[in-house]
């Protein structure tokens, strides 16, 4: 795969398929171990948990109930307030790629932040289609329409269930 970069860039869905198919078994076994290790190194520093169920409980303690604080007080607030997504989980996902050996903490953070922006973007774009259908509830088909229509989302084609 490493040598055939351009093929995979043209067929991004194959990248994900390749990764999912080959690596997930390995990752499943390894994931719990890595998750705990990452949580120990990153989680302590951030004050966030790798355990999904406990993320909700963490919020009142950390954000003081006001989510805007994370943007306004970015300079003084602890690192955990800057990225909403858990860096440990992002790093685990990144390690699913067999070609990735090491990732700097900055790169993990930027990808987490970019994913946040991506989620916002796709939600807003899908909303357009819901509104066209005179609906106030975003549905799966709105998402499919957005993916089909918008060039930037081309890499998602064929990757969702």
């Amino acid at each position: 795969m490493a040598g055939d970069v351009h093929f995979y860039l043209r067929n991004p869905s194959l990248v994900t398929r390749y990764i999912w198919n080959l690596q997930l078994k390995h990752v499943c076994r390894h994931h719990i171990f890595c998750q705990r290790r990452m949580a120990a190194t990153l989680g302590h520093a951030q004050g966030t948990d790798s355990d999904p169920d406990r993320v909700v409980e963490d919020e009142p303690r950390g954000t003081d109930g006001d989510e805007e604080n994370s943007q306004q007080t970015g300079a003084t607030a602890p690192q955990s307030r800057l990225a909403k997504l858990p860096l440990a989980r992002i790093k685990a996902l990144m390690k699913a790629d067999p070609d990735v050996t090491l990732a700097s903490q900055e790169s993990v953070f930027i990808i987490a932040k970019a994913t946040e922006l991506f989620v916002e973007m796709i939600a807003k774009d899908a909303l357009v289609y819901a509104q066209q259908g005179k609906r106030k509830t975003l549905q799966r088909k709105d998402l499919d329409n957005a993916i089909e229509a918008i060039d930037e989302f081309a890499f998602l084609e064929g990757t969702l269930d």
Binding site: L82, D99, L102, A103, Q105, E106, A114, E120, R140, L156
Partner: protein, 149 residues
């Protein structure tokens, strides 16, 4: 699609929060749509990582750095992300710096304490060394005497 363990998805609560903040009030999101967005986000991470890794490999580096990710954003046609990401990165770096200084300060305080303890020990060591220096000299004198004889 191949099996996809739930563990590798990002936490639903956080995804829901991001979506709700992005959309105006009164808009709801179906469970299916939320799940799809969560999956799309995971795919996004994988794709971005793969692209960034290509840039790192081109530069013959084994560690992904922030620059690689920024180049990947451009490659993926998400240039609109680049400016906000740069700003977030600056804030993150400051936070990192603050933390590093805090932990270094802690280290210094610890070293100060152990220095005080060490200096007490050193005085005892010096006394022992003085005694040891005298002994070899005594032996040398003894040998010289024997040679002469």
């Amino acid at each position: 699609m191949a099996e996809r363990p739930e563990d590798l998805n990002l936490p639903n609560a956080v995804i829901t929060r991001i979506i709700k903040e992005a959309l105006p009030d009164g808009v709801n999101v179906s469970k299916e749509a939320r799940r799809a967005i969560s999956q799309a986000a995971s795919v996004f991470v994988l794709y971005a990582t793969s692209c960034a890794n290509n840039f790192a490999m081109k530069a013959k580096r084994k560690t992904l750095n922030a620059g690689d990710v920024m180049s990947a954003m451009e490659e993926m046609e998400f240039e609109r992300f680049m400016q906000p990401l740069r700003e977030s990165l600056e804030a993150f770096k400051k936070g990192q710096k603050g933390k590093k200084e805090a932990s270094e300060q802690k280290k210094k305080d610890k070293e100060k304490k152990s220095d005080v303890e060490e200096s007490d020990k050193k005085d005892e060591d010096e006394e022992e060394e003085e005694h040891m220096d005298e002994e070899p000299e005594a032996e040398n004198e003894a040998e010289e005497d024997e040679v002469e004889n």
